[in-house]
């Protein structure tokens, strides 16, 4: 009966990740006047025309929808920065440092503040490319789990969405390897032939090293 919880059930939905990303702070330039807001999530404002203010993304998007502000795209969302990231991403096996919610933030800004982003087409395609390169790397990186027995995996610089997508596979794979390596009898997994079990045990003590 122990095997019935499914790691999938514990992953966050895309909407929930977006919800979390909406708390990231961005800079807006209001075009109206409003007293400070003392919200449960913090105090923001006061808002004065042409004076930049720091607000969470959900607030920025809400104001933007009503035409009350322009959003300043974060620094990392410039063509120059993204080109650098993309090149580095292609050149090394390491993952470049991007905001934890870069996928969700850029998506929200593309959807709601397209006219505030200079060179939007370029920025958009750069982010798409970065995403693709990173996903490809994740795929090849995961092969390592099967090559060497791994007890712990460091997912350096992986973003929220990327981590969430690999979660069901990674957690299940690691857990299975871990189980097979434990010398104790394997309850309920009678489906694993003992020959295979031995094969795994020989490689037992190896731990994946940083690349």
């Amino acid at each position: 009966m122990a095997n019935q919880s499914d790691p999938n059930a514990f992953a966050f939905s895309a909407a929930e990740l977006e919800f979390l990303a909406e708390d990231e702070v961005v800079e807006i330039v209001p075009n109206m006047r409003m007293e400070p807001l003392n919200l449960i999530s913090g105090d923001f404002g006061p808002f004065r025309p042409q004076i930049a203010a720091q607000v969470p993304l959900w607030l920025a998007v809400a104001l933007k929808k009503r035409g009350k502000c322009t959003i300043r795209p974060p620094e990392w969302m410039s063509v120059e920065k993204l080109t650098q990231v993309l090149e580095a991403e292609r050149d090394t096996e390491k993952f470049q440092l991007l905001p934890f919610h870069y996928v969700e933030i850029s998506r929200l800004l593309f959807d709601h503040a397209r006219e505030d982003i200079p060179d939007i087409y370029m920025v958009r395609s750069l982010i798409e490319d970065i995403k693709d390169v990173r996903f490809h790397k994740i795929g090849t990186g995961l092969e390592i789990i099967s090559k060497e027995v791994t007890y712990a995996l460091r997912l350096k610089n992986l973003s929220a969405m990327e981590a969430n997508i690999v979660r069901p596979f990674v957690t299940k794979a690691l857990q299975t390897f871990h189980k097979l390596n434990t010398s104790e009898a394997i309850p309920e997994s009678g489906s694993v032939p003992s020959r295979q079990r031995q094969a795994v045990n020989q490689r037992d003590k190896r731990v994946l090293k940083g690349r």
Binding site: F10, E22, M34, L37, T150, L153, R154, A163, K205
Partner: protein, 224 residues
């Protein structure tokens, strides 16, 4: 992607308690929600936090009411309302996630006093009702029709020594976690005698829930 291995949390544990103290309830609630969603077992009920969040929500509801009666700036009112809705969502989702776990593991939680004590009064009541309903359902649909000796909801047959029909969460399940601070080396599982994993600040790790459980409970590591 690289890996390490993990455990005893040695250095750098109690550096930033200040940053912990300055964290807002909104942040704390978000963290509680994330941890609860990502952890395989039910965690300690955040009674004080939930109480404070409820009060804040109520206060904010009154404020919004007052604003809209006073003809305050409708834009500000709608923003207050959005903020309120976000907090309400977090709180509801937090409570609901716990109820789902209770539904899945009601029998297990009830017979494990450590888990039972993590529940709020209302959740304990809910668990008991769940169990009653489940027992009644199992009895009516199956158990009453089985031969003597197979009628228990907890055991496969009267020959079973342990309660082998009680689902319990898999604690050796891997979770993805992140620490705000450098936690130093961490021994994953002493059975294997591997080198420990170095837990760096703000990096993601996939580790077995069982081995980081104390760190989750003490708030040193967040589940993602």
């Amino acid at each position: 992607m690289d890996s390490g291995d993990a455990s005893g949390y040695s250095a750098g544990v109690d550096d930033d308690y200040e940053s912990l103290l300055s964290t807002t309830d909104a942040e704390l609630l978000k963290r509680a929600w994330r941890n609860e969603k990502a952890a395989p077992e039910i965690l300690q009920f955040e009674a004080a936090l939930v109480q404070r969040s409820r009060e804040q929500i109520q206060l904010m509801e009154e404020t919004v009411e007052e604003f809209s009666n006073n003809g305050a700036d409708p834009l500000a009112v709608s923003l207050y309302q959005m903020d309120l809705d976000r907090t309400l969502f977090l709180l509801r989702s937090y409570l609901r996630t716990r109820l789902q776990k209770i539904e899945s593991y009601a029998f297990h939680i009830q017979k494990t006093s450590d888990l039972w004590n993590r529940l709020s009064k209302q959740e304990q009541k809910f668990t008991e009702r769940c169990i009653d309903d489940m027992e009644q359902h199992l009895d009516q649909s199956v158990l009453s029709k089985l031969p003597h000796g197979f009628k228990s909801h907890l055991k496969q047959s009267s020959l079973s020594l342990a309660d082998d029909m009680v689902p319990d969460p898999q604690l050796d399940q891997y979770v993805i976690c992140r620490s705000k601070r450098f936690l130093g080396s961490f021994q994953l599982d002493d059975r294997h005698g591997e080198e420990p994993v170095n837990i760096e600040a703000n990096d993601l790790y996939a580790l077995p829930y069982k081995s980081i459980k104390p760190l989750v409970e003490s708030g040193q590591i967040d589940l993602i």
